[in-house]
Symmetry: C2
Subunit: 405 residues, 2 copies
């Protein structure tokens, strides 16, 4: 039998992906994925752009290209970040990645030795846990509430841990909770990071998917010490299939990312980069984003309405102002994995929340996605979960009563 590297024993199949396999039957109402709505992909426009690119610049779009990325796209992204996100970055502070998942992997490769500490929110994005785990770090989870990391807890953890190599955060409409950090928490967090000299990785896939007025500026716009790496992606604002993400960060650090990326995949698809660059040139990203926000806002409202109307008492959930997810907390003692198995019998699915905590626990949490189905189906799906949950919680209460008797 083959001998595998030690890291492979800690890399587990993503629970979400395994569950998704169970939910492929068309009759299942699945809140489990995190898929954008495909009916909003601007496919006609992309088809026109593909025709243009393959007609006029095939020798460029089909050839090897620089590891750093297509100069046209880097230029467009610097502009985008400066105009729309209030940042100040130049195009040579941008590296194009194969989705922002690669930004996470490169972060692990560049920063992490075995045993190093990554500070993160509790809960945090599962894809980041998976990417970093390959490099053997310990995760220190900072407790959070509706406004972001709890600052006193953060201060305590900063003083009690050595080898903190980076902080990984998703301050806008986070996956899995849908929560956004308040302005004061953002500033307090950054000041602590500056003081301790800890590089910050800001993952911002949802920042522009904002339903109730403009979103916060990213942490990147606050950065004064040039130690912040911003991860962006087109997955949620254009389409995920092209795998175009980017890292914006200080040159000195980005050089390391470029070296790491050379070994990882040489460069990101030349064609896909050029398609996105030419799409941006047409100036249609804003209109596309508005359509996405309008549709997702309705779906979020449908989901929150259905939760309000049907959930049993003792269940709490977030009220996200953007993004793709709502986060539920069941009463203590309830187990979302058990609930999922029962729900699958009623053809409805979600992701148990435990996987979003790198150090485990929190089995009474779960994540619901609302971006990828019509409102009627959302309402019906929530109704089914609520019905199953009513039953489970009644049993749980009786069980507890019986145990006490």
């Amino acid at each position: 039998m083959n001998h595998f590297a030690r890291r492979m024993s800690s890399l587990q199949a993503s629970e979400i992906r395994e569950i998704l396999k169970l939910t492929r039957r068309p009759e299942v109402i699945s809140f489990a994925g995190g898929l954008p709505a495909p009916e909003l992909f601007p496919s006609d426009e992309l088809r026109a752009v593909a025709d243009q690119v393959l007609r006029h610049e095939p020798g460029l779009a089909l050839q090897y290209s620089p590891t750093e990325g297509d100069p046209l796209l880097r230029h467009a992204l610097a502009r985008h970040m400066n105009r729309r996100l209030g940042c100040r970055v130049s195009e040579d502070e941008i590296l194009i990645t194969t989705g922002s998942q690669q930004g996470l992997d490169l972060t692990g490769k560049v920063f992490l030795d075995e045993g190093d500490v990554v500070l993160c929110e509790s809960p945090t994005y599962i894809g980041a846990i998976q990417a970093f785990t390959a490099y053997g770090p310990r995760f220190v989870e900072v407790p959070t509430d509706d406004e972001g990391m709890l600052i006193p807890e953060l201060v305590r953890l900063l003083s009690s841990h050595r080898r903190i190599r980076l902080a990984y955060v998703v301050p806008d409409f986070q996956n899995p909770t849908g929560r956004s950090w308040s302005s004061s928490r953002r500033m307090a967090f950054m000041q602590l990071m500056w003081r301790h000299g800890i590089p910050v990785v800001e993952d911002c896939p949802y920042g522009q998917v904002a339903f109730d007025g403009p979103a916060h500026r990213p942490l990147k716009a606050l950065d004064r010490c040039d130690q912040l790496l911003f991860l962006g992606t087109f997955s949620k604002i254009l389409c995920p299939g092209l795998r175009i993400g980017w890292v914006a960060g200080p040159r000195h650090t980005l050089e390391r990312y470029v070296l790491a990326k050379q070994g990882s995949d040489l460069h990101t698809s030349s064609l896909d980069q050029r398609l996105v660059a030419r799409f941006l040139e047409r100036g249609r990203l804003g209109a596309n984003l508005s359509a996405i926000c309008d549709t997702y806002r309705e779906r979020r409202d449908a989901m929150l309405g259905a939760l309000d109307a049907t959930m049993p008492p003792g269940v709490r959930w977030t009220r996200p102002g953007g993004g793709l997810f709502v986060w539920l907390e069941l009463p203590p003692g309830a187990d979302a994995r058990d609930l999922l198995l029962r729900c699958l019998e009623h053809d409805v699915a979600f992701v148990p929340g435990g996987s979003f905590f790198p150090n485990g626990g929190h089995d009474n949490t779960l994540r619901l996605n609302f971006s990828n189905m019509p409102c009627e189906r959302i309402v019906e799906g929530v109704r089914r979960i609520s019905a199953v949950l009513h039953e489970s919680l009644t049993e749980l209460a009786h069980g507890s009563a019986a145990a006490l008797a």
Copy 2:
């Protein structure tokens, strides 16, 4: 200042990529890159395919897709390997990667702990050295000649090294030497690997770019112990810009690659995978490959003719039956890096061979690429290198004579 992972201190900028930056002036005749000829990219056909895909299946081509790869492409590749390469693989033994460079990175991630040994040819592919180096292995170089690894040396090295985790080989028209292994060496090598239970990674980007009759079957077609991982790519037989490669290997091992890839980039571009799958369906890969071989054959002949006609005595070179490269060995004492600096003054460039030896040395070697320019330019470029080399070797001889006097 940021603290980077230890691995970053051994990751160096690829010398080739740095040299390429110096050779972008249009007046430079550069044999340094490894670029396919862009005039042979089937861009009209790909444009038609892109139109078809984005018209009829945009929801699939632009959406997230399975880590394992597009089922249509995996199916087509299993067929391709079985029909054209004499293998026996099924589609679930195929993982699509973001170029075969990612296949190399995943190999490192799956197999290598720090200090593990990788057996490789001497010289070997620089991209593999770079990918594996991120995982901290030692390289044990097996001496080679025109028929492949020297078997007695291999036997000796196998008995004198512990922790050999894998063997990495490029048996067909290797980068950098252009050499191919003989049938008897292939069999002797595989028998030793079976006996020692060492997984083999066969990197085969050039196997089908064969000029003088059909190429050998890949080692994969010989494999009896299900411990071989075959890395394929469309970079040299279609175009490199789409970054579509694949790994064919036993399910048990491929499962680990899938886990590693989830963390690396979730999946390869859905659009690019579907483009290649639909391109293959049209049955035009064979015609495209013939055109590539015809053009490269002429260019190789031009290069070998010019070398024969102009090189000073004492210089030796390979006579590749395929691929993209010719390998030169200068007389002992000559330094290809010095030669390059002089050649750049005459607007001609190549890659010094030292970078292809993971443990250094061999400064008297160099690599010439012949795929990416017309024959006249090849002849003129070789003439210039020869002229500079005549001069250098004369100086070298005088210097040695002076030193002896």
